[in-house]
């Protein structure tokens, strides 16, 4: 069994990671960190660069958690990547970070979190930054 966490280098992403580490320790399972990009723009601030990934790696190593970090760039959106990973590894839980949104903002922008919440086959833990 595995816990899947959707990571982005933002406060939401960090909050999700912190929570995921706590969960993984509690149930003593493997942690799968997913950070993805569609890869169709030249610049994507939600795709973690080498130093940021190194920080995450170091943190997980010092916490002593069995982990895998994946950064798929395959043209799928982040929700699809997280859901795929959860299904593939038969995840017991998905951890995601949520942003505060106004109702209007919610209406205009599609939400990665919403798609994960609605489509996941396992429990989803949503954390606010």
């Amino acid at each position: 069994m595995t816990i899947v966490v959707g990571y982005v280098p933002t406060p939401e992403g960090e909050a999700a990671l912190t929570q995921a580490i706590a969960e993984a320790r509690k149930s003593n399972t493997k942690l799968l960190v997913i950070n993805s990009s569609k890869g169709d723009a030249l610049v994507d601030n939600r795709y973690a660069q080498e130093p940021e990934i190194q920080t995450v790696e170091d943190r997980l190593a010092t916490e002593g958690i069995d982990h895998v970090i994946k950064q798929p760039v395959r043209g799928h959106d982040a929700a699809a990547e997280v859901l795929d990973a959860a299904e593939e590894h038969n995840a017991e839980m998905i951890v995601i970070g949520l942003r505060r949104r106004t109702p209007v903002g919610k209406l205009i922008l599609g939400s990665v979190s919403q798609r994960i919440l609605l489509e996941a086959d396992c429990p989803v833990l949503a954390v606010k930054a």
């Binding site: 569609k38 890869g39 169709d40 723009a41 030249l42 610049v43 043209g75």
Partner: protein, 537 residues
């Protein structure tokens, strides 16, 4: 002074509210396409050509000039903040600029690039205003044989000197000349390469060719290479420079300008060679040579000044002789023809107000660019977050609309797709785009001069070298073509003289080769991003 009063008239025309508005639109568009790798001023001008048919030629050219200069400014932003050259002429800027940005000096790098571009652009444009009339005075005395020779020189030099492979360059030039041949023979009225298709007898519209090769070819190429690991923009505040930076920048600016303008003005000058020369010079002259490779401000200031001065230099032969030496100038020349304006030395007399308004607008555009680029460079960099499918969908839409609107013929769309596929294949196999577009545009004019020469000499080929200037140019062409052979011969002799063998041979020729190979590498780098079509070769 004649030049002075003409220039002042030019300013009066360029500063009318409408023309000023077009200058603003031009510099904004130019900066945007400059920032985005793969898009460049040549493609943008080609896409806008059909749209601008409704405008006054003066307004259209003021906008085009803004786009051209804007591209030079925008390219440096991407080079510095992302280490991906936005334009082929900004390749060298990326070497030191990105190192500076990584060391937390992005603001200074952007500032020296923008201010250096402004200084070089202003000096370059001044030189253009002074030199162009002198070149014209000289040029009106030239006859057809000399023109033929000069055009041959431009075509061969662009093909043979620039780019990574001569074979590919000549293949591209051949394709261009063949496309230029399609249509009725101007003298005898025979049909050439029309394949019995009556719609081809008018020839291929240059707008359709340019849009297909630049826009459609590029869009297909990007679509085939869409996925790539995204990067982060290095965060930066408002660009600024300390006293020390000014002190270290002003000399490289001036030296860069001195390299850029003459190289831009030469046929086959382009902006890559002077930017590279400027970089090497600054490296040698610098008081802080240890900083080179770690982010030396001189390495940004010099090349950025050089590429803007080269941009101004390129306009000298374009306006004075009707001789384009890079892709953007070639498309602008096509624009002259589509407005029914005959490019060449008579341009200054027949279209004086337009030319001087264009030159004046370069000064204005330069100032506008400094204003919009200095404080806003980080904002421009945000454009890079745009998902490229949306961007290229828009470009394809405009390309199709533009190609159709030229003649309102559905047949043009077929040509657009066929040539777009050709543009894609050329990028796939590493063929440079510049020789093709120059071939299409200069080919028919080259043929015209050749026919005129032969008619004057009653068919005697000796007429081709009947003018002394033509003879000199043929000798230069000969040297360019035989250069690799001579170089090899020279090297072999030297190797034979020194028995030390291969180590010494490679060592002794290294400095020379470094010059060539790095500028070639820059072509390839930009080709990899698909941006070589808009590179100023």
């Amino acid at each position: 002074m004649d030049v002075w009063s003409s220039l002042m008239d030019g300013f009066a025309t360029a500063l009318t509210p409408m023309n000023f508005l077009y200058a603003v639109i031009g510099v904004i568009l130019g900066t945007a396409v400059g920032v985005l790798p793969g898009l460049g001023p040549a493609m943008t001008v080609a896409l806008l050509l059909p749209v601008t048919y409704a405008l006054e030629p003066t307004s259209a050219f003021i906008m085009f000039a803004g786009i051209y200069y804007g591209g030079m400014y925008g390219g440096s932003t991407t080079s510095i903040l992302l280490n991906t050259p936005g334009e082929s002429s900004s390749v060298v800027t990326a070497i030191e600029g990105n190192k500076m940005a990584k060391a937390g000096r992005a603001a200074q790098a952007l500032a020296t690039a923008a201010i250096g571009s402004f200084v070089a652009g202003t000096i370059g444009t001044t030189l253009l205003a002074v030199c162009a009339p002198i070149v014209v005075k000289f040029a009106v005395s030239l006859g057809s044989p000399s023109y033929f020779a000069i055009m041959m020189l431009a075509l061969l030099a662009v093909t043979a000197v620039l780019g990574s492979s001569r074979l590919r360059g000549f293949a591209s030039l051949g394709l261009g000349l063949a496309i230029g041949l399609v249509g009725l023979d101007s003298v005898t009225g025979q049909r050439r390469l029309t394949f019995g298709q009556p719609l081809l007898s008018d020839g291929l519209d240059i707008v359709v060719v340019a849009v297909a090769i630049f826009a459609v070819g590029e869009a297909l190429w990007v679509a085939a290479h869409l996925r790539r690991t995204p990067l982060h923009i290095i965060p930066v505040g408002r660009p600024w420079m300390g006293k020390q930076d000014w002190k270290r920048s002003w000399k490289p600016w001036l030296r860069g300008t001195a390299f850029g303008f003459p190289f831009g003005a030469l046929p086959a000058g382009g902006a890559e060679i002077p930017t590279f020369l400027s970089y090497v010079t600054e490296k040698r002259l610098s008081k802080h040579p240890e900083e080179f490779g770690k982010g030396a401000i001189e390495g940004v200031a010099g090349p950025e000044a050089a590429n803007n001065a080269a941009a101004a230099g390129t306009l000298t032969p374009m306006l004075a002789l009707g001789l384009p030496t890079n892709a953007t100038a070639a498309v602008m020349l096509a624009a002259f023809t589509s407005y029914g304006i005959q490019p060449g030395p008579q341009l200054f007399t027949s279209e004086g107000p337009l030319v001087w308004a264009l030159i004046a607008s370069l000064f204005i555009g330069n100032l506008l660019l400094l204003i919009i680029n200095l404080p806003l460079a980080p904002v421009w960099a945000k454009l890079l977050q745009l998902p490229r499918p949306y961007l290229y969908a828009g470009i394809l839409f405009f390309a199709t609309l533009g190609a159709y609107s030229v003649n309102l013929q559905a047949f043009d769309l077929v040509i657009l797709l066929v040539l777009g596929a050709l543009g894609f294949m050329m990028r796939r196999f590493g063929l440079p785009v510049l020789p093709l577009i120059l071939g299409v545009i200069l080919g028919p004019r080259l043929e015209g001069q050749l026919r005129k020469t032969l008619q004057l000499s009653a068919g005697d080929p000796a007429g081709l070298w009947s003018e002394p200037i033509a003879v000199v140019i043929y000798i230069i062409i000969g040297i360019i073509l035989l250069w690799p052979l001579l170089f090899k011969l020279f090297r072999r002799n030297r190797a034979a003289a020194a028995p030390a063998g291969p180590q010494l041979k490679s060592g002794s020729s290294a400095p020379n080769e470094a010059g060539g190979s790095v500028s070639h590498a820059s072509h390839r780098a930009s080709g990899g991003d698909g941006g070589d079509g808009d590179g100023d070769g």
